[in-house]
């Protein structure tokens, strides 16, 4: 299953709903392009909903890290929502779980962004 990304706005936060596989190639490129487009539009608050992401490889992890640092360097915030167990374990093994701000409830996540 290839990756899909759709965007919606909730209280000034752009929620990006991702599904499928974030792997080297189409998936990682789509994630990269989505983040670039949002930054180009001046978006500063981004919540990546990974609830329907079934699989991430090291390239996908790299894209998440790149997205996080790119948004942060632009003065924005990028947070992760609804990690599956597989993605949660990957981020723990790679010691990135504490780097990202990870949320498991959308309403709480939206409220946690700086006003």
């Amino acid at each position: 299953m290839s990756m899909k990304a759709s965007q919606r706005e909730v209280d000034g936060v752009t929620v990006v709903d991702l599904s499928g596989r974030i792997t080297l190639g189409e998936g990682s490129v789509l994630l990269r392009d989505s983040i670039r487009d949002l930054i180009a539009k001046g978006t500063k608050k981004i919540l990546l909903n990974l609830g329907d992401v079934t699989y991430i490889d090291s390239s996908g992890i790299g894209e998440l890290v790149s997205a996080f640092t790119t948004v942060r360097n632009q003065g924005g915030e990028l947070k992760l929502l609804n990690l599956t167990k597989k993605v949660h374990d990957l981020l723990q093994i790679t010691k990135l779980y504490t780097v990202f701000d990870v949320k498991d409830d959308e309403a709480t996540a939206i409220q946690s962004f700086k006003k």
Binding site: L24, S58, T94, K95
Partner: protein, 148 residues
């Protein structure tokens, strides 16, 4: 008889990476691994295949990747070889080091080592061969880390 070994010679493309991963996942199902271990085996094979195709062979259409799968009954043994310039596994930076934590790349071999029970490298003339072994019913190193 449980022993079964199959080998494929594949082009240096991302399509070959997908094929290598899919074959490993199917073999892991047949070998009776849990869903969690099947996922870990698939990721490890994908990472090794990506290394072979991109870093080893440099996506050179003249260079091939050879993938071998063997179910010994006790273990799943997967060997992936490239025809590149060689790799010294001792020279790979630690992706968990603070200075590397936010780097975009460099986690592939770390994930392979985390997800498989045994990982061996062998220098070829030319190229590198990596052997990935997962024992049926063996404890997963990732789980071990979490319980320590």
């Amino acid at each position: 008889m449980n022993e079964k070994r199959v080998s494929y010679t594949l082009d240096s493309t991302l399509d070959s990476v997908d094929k290598a991963e899919e074959a490993a996942a199917k073999l892991a199902v047949n070998a009776g691994f849990s869903d969690e271990d099947r996922y870990r085996i698939a990721i490890a094979v994908r990472e090794a295949a990506v290394n072979a195709v991109l870093h080893g062979n440099g996506s050179n259409p003249q260079k091939k990747m050879t993938v071998s799968y063997e179910n010994t009954g006790e273990s799943l043994v997967i060997t992936i070889a490239d025809q590149g310039n060689g790799l010294d596994p001792k020279c790979i930076p630690d992706p968990l080091a603070p200075e590397n934590l936010l780097k975009q790349s460099g986690r592939g071999i770390f994930l392979i080592r985390s997800f498989m029970d045994e990982v061996r490298f062998r220098a070829l003339e030319p190229g590198t061969e990596i052997t990935l072994i997962k024992h049926v019913g063996g404890a997963s190193p990732g789980v071990k880390e979490e319980t320590q």
